[in-house]
């Protein structure tokens, strides 16, 4: 069974609102750096950056973070996660880093991402933006900016598909 929870328009609105919230919370976009968690988070981070530019007229750098080497399940999984390139286009030191992911679930990816970011320097703050928060946290982690809160059961999966991957924007639960 598939249920659509966000369509193309909803995704666009959610990202626009999150961009406004990021500006509001940070009182502008000064010292801001967006870092998307590969792979879904990177697309969302780019869209947020474009929206921020639309509103504030400034270019906000977007990084792309691979967390494979920081995961906590490396000795548990049957296969090692694929190692991809990490690109952080700006100095992290003293920046406000907004981590961006498509779906927030257990919080373990975010823990790994925070450790990975810290290895690039000491940010003045790390904030978290996610398109969908589906609950079921296993770590004390909370998002600062949420596109949509979606209550789910553990047996369901949340799928975010985006134009960047050649599909129509939408979020579905299966």
């Amino acid at each position: 069974m598939t249920k659509e929870i966000l369509d193309k328009k909803d995704v666009e609105r959610a990202i626009a609102r999150m961009a406004h919230e990021i500006i509001e919370k940070n009182k502008g976009v000064k010292s801001l750096c967006l870092v998307g968690i590969q792979r879904g988070g990177v697309h969302i981070a780019r869209r947020l950056s474009a929206k921020l530019k639309e509103i504030e007229g400034k270019n906000i750098p977007v990084g792309s973070l691979d967390i494979a080497l920081y995961r906590d399940d490396i000795n548990v999984r049957k296969e090692q996660p694929v190692v991809r390139r990490t690109e952080v286009p700006c100095e992290i030191k003293n920046k406000k880093v907004v981590l961006v992911d498509d779906v927030l679930f257990t919080g373990r990816s975010i823990r790994a991402a925070m450790d990975a970011v810290m290895d690039f320097g000491r940010p003045s703050a790390i904030q978290l933006a996610v398109l969908v928060d589906r609950g079921h946290r296993e770590l004390p982690i909370k998002a600062d900016f949420v596109g949509k809160n979606v209550p789910t059961s553990l047996t369901e999966t949340v799928k975010v598909q985006l134009e960047e991957d050649g599909l129509d924007d939408k979020v579905v639960i299966e």
Binding site: L69, N75, K78, V83, R85, T86, F120
Partner: protein, 307 residues
């Protein structure tokens, strides 16, 4: 994606997709090596033992650093100060190290087949760092990585390997690797060191260096082991250099954008002239850097097969 074997004993045993996976993964690790903090927590809690029965500085150091960058603990097992001098067998030594909790055993030995033997007798992942005249798989992988970085591909490249092919485990691993990835290989050297029967593995053989280097994309020089001198393979190192040493003039026979490689350690003035070794076309030091990334990739991928 994952490797199929818990061990890396040779290129011969790998399929081309395994090789591609290692090279792709190494690209991610090369990134890590360019950062301020060059260490990642991926394999913390695991242990790597370097078991070297032959002298080596660069390979051992490279493995040691690769293992440390991945946060494993590293023990360098020095054969000269161990129970090996009291007569302990290789298998007993390896089992003892395994019983201490080693996850990876990196082995170098003068006997061909040592890595296979240990791989079959241990639960730990065995990585071949050179066994006799058989294979030196991580050297071939770092060479492939370097070539792919410079040329964007391996397929269809013309690659010349020059020197003592007969005794070279580096050459053997590279020949297997290049053939698997679709490159054309030619071997150049004196007939005593490049025997004619090697044609059977699908390579061209040249004893005339000038002819052999014509239009190649890659020139891979091998070290001439000094101990081979005076054993009838070639008269003197001077004469060897005259016939098979890589000079700027000889380099001009290759393609304009050809690169020069050498696994080290080099004998300047024997197989390669200093101006070529230090020249613009030489990627010899990049090979060393890439070796770290490739060895990190191998350790990381093998750790996934074991768990």
């Amino acid at each position: 994606m994952s490797l199929k074997s818990k061990d890396l004993v040779g290129i011969k045993e790998l399929e081309s997709e395994d090789i591609e996976l290692i090279l792709d993964t190494a690209a991610g690790f090369k990134d890590v090596l360019g950062r301020d903090i060059k260490k990642v927590p991926a394999l913390r809690g695991m242990t790597t033992v370097n078991l070297f029965y032959e002298p080596s500085t660069r390979t051992r150091t490279s493995f040691e650093l690769a293992a440390k960058r991945l946060s494993t603990d590293v023990i360098n097992f020095s054969v000269s100060t161990s129970s090996v001098v009291k007569g302990e067998t290789l298998k007993d030594t390896a089992l003892t190290i395994q019983a201490l909790g080693a996850d990876f055993i990196v082995i170098r030995h003068s006997c061909s087949g040592t890595a296979h033997f240990l791989a079959n007798n241990l639960d730990a992942s065995v990585i071949n760092a050179g066994d006799g005249t058989n294979e030196h798989p991580t050297q071939a992988l770092l060479d492939l990585f370097t070539i792919r970085e410079k040329k964007g591909r391996i397929n269809e490249l013309e690659i010349a390997i020059v020197g003592d092919i007969l005794h070279s485990r580096v050459a053997k691993s590279n020949i297997y690797a290049f053939k698997k990835l679709g490159a054309k290989v030619r071997l150049i050297g004196p007939p005593t060191l490049v025997p004619d029967y090697m044609k059977e593995i699908g390579v061209d053989i040249f004893s005339d260096m000038d002819k052999g280097l014509k239009d190649v994309d890659i020139i891979m020089m091998l070290r001439i082991q000094m101990e081979r001198q005076g054993k009838g393979f070639f008269p003197t190192t001077e004469e060897y250099f005259m016939n098979w040493g890589l000079t700027a003039e000889r380099l001009s026979r290759a393609k304009k954008d050809a690169i020069v490689m050498h696994p080290g350690p080099m004998n300047r003035g024997v197989e390669i002239s200093s101006d070529v070794a230090d020249g613009r076309r030489s990627v010899i030091l990049e090979q060393v850097t890439n070796g770290l990334a490739v060895r990190m990739a191998v350790l990381y991928l093998l750790s996934g097969v074991r768990t």
